[in-house]
């Protein structure tokens, strides 16, 4: 199969998925038996019919559900995600402001996650059934089974509040000003501005939340790396590689890892979804003003445009990452090219 054909086929599959996501998100947001009026108007205003009617009209809540959905889709095609009921600002503007923070966090989180997960998986597989394997598996188990908010709270209390060896909540120290906006990612913008102090401070504020996210996703990455590598380690070509006299490091690093990567890459793609979900809790605990934080508040306020906007964004990212993973398969696995 040619790369172009493979690429287009995968791309076409993405469209119905995204459309389906808009519908499901819309229906779920509306099916919750809570009223956005109760959520967004103060208690006393609920006795005032005029205020309620004005609110319904303003936010289009007086229209039938299908009409609301079609209007939403129409606006979406023009790049308009609507206006947040809670903050009265265009959702796309809010997302644009907060997304770079989450990308910054998620990127460092996935980097730590890969290093930690793949590293633990390698240790586990190479020294199978040794004490190193057991320790690595326990760490993986903690990552998988411990609630992410608990890990976040422990990190915050131990490393920030008690030991004072890590920076605390927020994106920057409270008295520091953000660097001039170029990308919205403070570390990058500080570097572009040549401001090392702000760069270091922004990076230090990423460490604890990113490590929490990393621990959260590294469990599953390490388990898959271990099992996948164990399978590969028993293959004939590995024995052949050793018989050729290659160093063990080359055998494992080149022949072993390369061939065991497919499931690992898949699971890293899927972990990105977990990372986004995890960011909702992590960002709340670390008072980190990213998109997860925004989603949390939107959900508790029944702010439909904001919920839909972020759901779509998460879906786009998730589908996008998995699309990239699909494309990577093409390069990693020659069998796909032949099929």
């Amino acid at each position: 199969m040619s790369f172009i054909r493979y690429f287009v086929r995968r791309l076409l599959l993405v469209i119905p998925i995204l459309l389906g996501i808009t519908l499901v998100a819309f229906l779920i947001a509306n099916a919750i038996p809570a009223d956005p009026i109760v959520a967004n108007l103060p208690p006393n205003a609920l006795n005032d019919e005029d205020t309620i009617a004005a609110f319904r009209k303003k936010w289009g809540l007086d229209k039938p559900l299908h009409e609301q959905y079609l209007t939403y889709l129409g606006n979406l095609l023009q790049g308009d995600l609507g206006v947040s009921i809670k903050w009265r600002k265009p959702v796309s503007e809010d997302i644009a402001k907060r997304l770079p923070a989450t990308i910054e966090l998620a990127t460092l989180g996935i980097m730590y996650g890969i290093v930690l997960g793949v590293g633990l998986g390698l240790v586990s597989a190479i020294w199978k059934d040794s004490w190193a394997d057991y320790i690595a598996r326990v760490i993986a188990l903690i990552g998988v089974s411990f609630p992410v908010f608990l890990i976040a709270l422990i990190f915050l209390n131990v490393f920030y509040a008690q030991l004072s060896i890590a920076a605390g909540p927020g994106r920057l120290h409270v008295l520091l000003r953000p660097p001039p906006t170029v990308t919205g990612m403070y570390t990058i913008d500080a570097l572009l501005n040549g401001d090392w102090k702000t760069f270091g401070n922004a990076l230090s504020h990423l460490i604890l939340p990113a490590l929490t996210l990393a621990l959260y996703i590294s469990g599953i990455i390490s388990r898959i790396t271990r099992s996948s590598l164990l399978e590969v380690l028993n293959q004939d070509y590995m024995r052949t590689a050793r018989a050729k006299g290659l160093r063990e490091r080359t055998v494992i690093g080149f022949h072993g890892m390369r061939n065991s990567l497919i499931p690992v890459v898949t699971v890293i793609g899927l972990s990105y979804g977990n990372l986004l979900v995890g960011s909702i809790l992590i960002e709340s605990i670390f008072a980190y003003p990213g998109i997860g934080f925004y989603m949390f508040r939107a959900s508790t306020s029944q702010d439909f445009p904001a919920i839909m906007g972020v759901s779509l964004l998460f879906a786009f990212i998730y589908v996008g990452v998995n699309f990239v993973v699909d494309i990577l398969y093409f390069f990693l696995d020659p069998r796909i090219r032949v099929a």
């Binding site: 809570a34 006393n44 605390g168 008295l175 230090s204 670390f286 949390f296």
Partner: protein, 526 residues
């Protein structure tokens, strides 16, 4: 991979060092507050949340105010004095001629008329508060007359609220504001007033990044005493645990949303002071008076049995505070006080249940929100209610619900028996009338009808609404409270203490029942 790992490790180490030891020199005197921001808007005609009140209390001034430490009396602010007409419906305010806005403009009667009419016509979240005002007129530059549809003794208390802040009419008009009747459609000053303030308070709103930070800078033109801090930064930290960690680390000076158990763990920390004081949130059981929703619990005798069965001292042990006699907020004028409150009497409760025809007990479904307020957990209290009532043969099944879902049901009067809390809408005894028909909790939420009350109680309710003479008010509110203790469908059981933790070098902190926090009276020990 290896090189990547080393680079990552190096970056982490560098960031940890830089982050942990970053010394941030500052010239300004800065106060940092950790809070759970709820702000919907800082435009006084549009915002109606606790965090809006805290900020607008110092960025704007109102005509009258309360003392720093309580809501016990009305003090002049922008109004130097006022007169009330004999029939109690017209209030004439003389403005303080020294008062100026942050931009140096004089505060005059046009600003008052504009601000209150804009509030009324803006259809914003707090606009309903101006419904009880018929007209606001400028008599001259420094005199304003306000006409009410009927006498209302709570009026002066009501206008202490930040909602009734006086905005600079010229500035707001220049930025799209209007007080015309169609202001709901034509006023476009909201965005401007959410980014800066146009008031005459000791601070000016400098920055608002929703759900992130709010910054105030000192108003150098302030016409009163200058505050100590040059800048006040409010940082949004939705989790109490985060606020606690930041307070211990010294990154924030004051944590506004700690739970009692989080506060308890800070006891003994020399760097932290703890403020405890009486709160204003009353926790209560509400029993629908329509038996299609609450069955036997619509019977006043059963309701009384529930009041006798609760372990009031137990709730005090859990959360501190006081045991309320009625749903009138603790500390309000005429409140019957703790000494009049119920004490647990299980024999009496069983006797009443038998008298009502339930000698073998009965079942109750208790609905409540899965929620916490001021650190008090509803689930804990619900479980205690379940245990308390089991002792008199009432088998309680707990039904926690998502807050918004439970609220919908409660506010529409479709619930059976619920557990809720009440914070006063106005800091005046009149607030208690919400719990008497035709008040909103009594009737709209609980179907308790005015016609079901004896004529003398109906008369007392009508009189309480308009009477301002203290002795008569005291008599009326005593009659009404005693009636609800005997026949009312509510079982209030606890008014928890409030607890706030702050760095020990912070001076002057006091919790206020109305604006909660007043940053203009805070300073730092040298």
């Amino acid at each position: 991979m290896n090189r990547f790992k080393y680079v990552l490790a190096l970056l982490t180490l560098m960031a940890l060092l830089l982050g942990a030891f970053a010394g941030l020199a500052q010239d300004e005197k800065v106060l940092v507050v950790g809070w759970k921001e709820q702000t919907d808007a800082y435009d006084p005609a549009n915002g109606f949340t606790h965090s809006t009140h805290i900020v607008n209390h110092v960025t704007y001034s109102q005509l009258v105010t309360f003392p720093d430490e309580n809501a016990g009396e009305i003090l002049p602010l922008l109004a130097a004095s006022w007169e009330i007409s004999d029939d109690g419906t017209v209030y004439t305010f003389s403005l303080n001629q020294d008062a100026i806005f942050a931009n140096g403009d004089d505060v005059n009667s046009d600003d008052v008329v504009f601000s209150w009419n804009r509030l009324k016509h803006r259809d914003g979240n707090p606009s309903f508060l101006a419904d009880g005002i018929d007209a606001v007129e400028a008599i001259d530059d420094d005199t304003v007359a306000v006409t009410l549809p009927a006498p209302r003794p709570s009026f002066l208390s009501e206008i202490t609220s930040g909602v009734f802040s006086i905005t600079n009419a010229d500035v707001v008009r220049a930025n799209g504001g209007t007080d015309a009747e169609d202001a709901a459609e034509t006023d476009t000053a909201g965005a401007y007033l959410d980014s800066t303030s146009a008031g005459s308070g000791p601070y000016v709103l400098d920055l608002w990044e929703p759900q992130n930070r709010t910054e105030l800078v000192r108003n150098d033109n302030y016409w009163g005493d200058q505050p100590y801090f040059d800048r006040v930064i409010f940082i949004h930290m939705p989790e109490g645990a985060t606020q606690k960690a930041a307070l211990e680390a010294g990154d924030i000076d004051l944590a506004l949303d700690l739970s009692p158990d989080q506060v308890a763990t800070l006891e003994g920390n020399p760097d932290i002071n703890i403020f405890r004081g009486p709160g204003v949130l009353t926790h209560f059981i509400i029993m629908n008076t329509d038996e299609q929703y609450s069955g036997p619990f619509a019977n006043p005798t059963v309701q009384l049995a529930v009041r006798y069965a609760l372990d009031y001292e137990g709730y005090k042990t859990l959360w501190g505070g006081v045991k309320p006699a009625t749903n009138m907020t603790a500390g309000f004028f005429g409140n019957l006080g703790e000494e009049a409150a119920f004490s647990r009497d299980l024999d009496k409760a069983r006797e009443l249940l038998a008298e009502a025809g339930y000698p073998d007990g009965l079942d109750m479904l208790l609905e409540y929100p899965d929620f916490g307020a001021g650190g008090v957990d509803f689930n804990t209290n619900a479980q205690k209610i379940q245990a308390d009532l089991a002792e008199v043969g009432i088998n309680v099944t707990l039904q926690p619900g998502e807050l918004q879902v439970a609220l919908d049901k409660y506010r529409s009067g479709l619930h059976g028996i619920g557990y809720w809390l009440w914070g006063p809408d106005i800091l005046d005894s009149l607030d208690f009338l919400s719990f008497m028909p035709p008040g909103k909790v009594a009737t709209e939420r609980n179907n308790w009808q005015l016609e079901s009350l004896p004529q003398e109680i109906q008369d007392a309710i009508a009189a309480a609404k308009v009477t301002s003479e203290p002795e008569e008010r005291l008599r009326l509110f005593t009659v009404l409270q005693e009636y609800t203790m005997q026949y009312g469908p509510f079982a209030p059981f606890n008014v928890p203490d409030v607890a706030t933790a702050y760095r020990s070098d912070l001076q002057g902190y006091i919790w206020h029942p109305h604006w909660l926090l007043d940053v203009q009276i805070l300073s730092r020990a040298m």
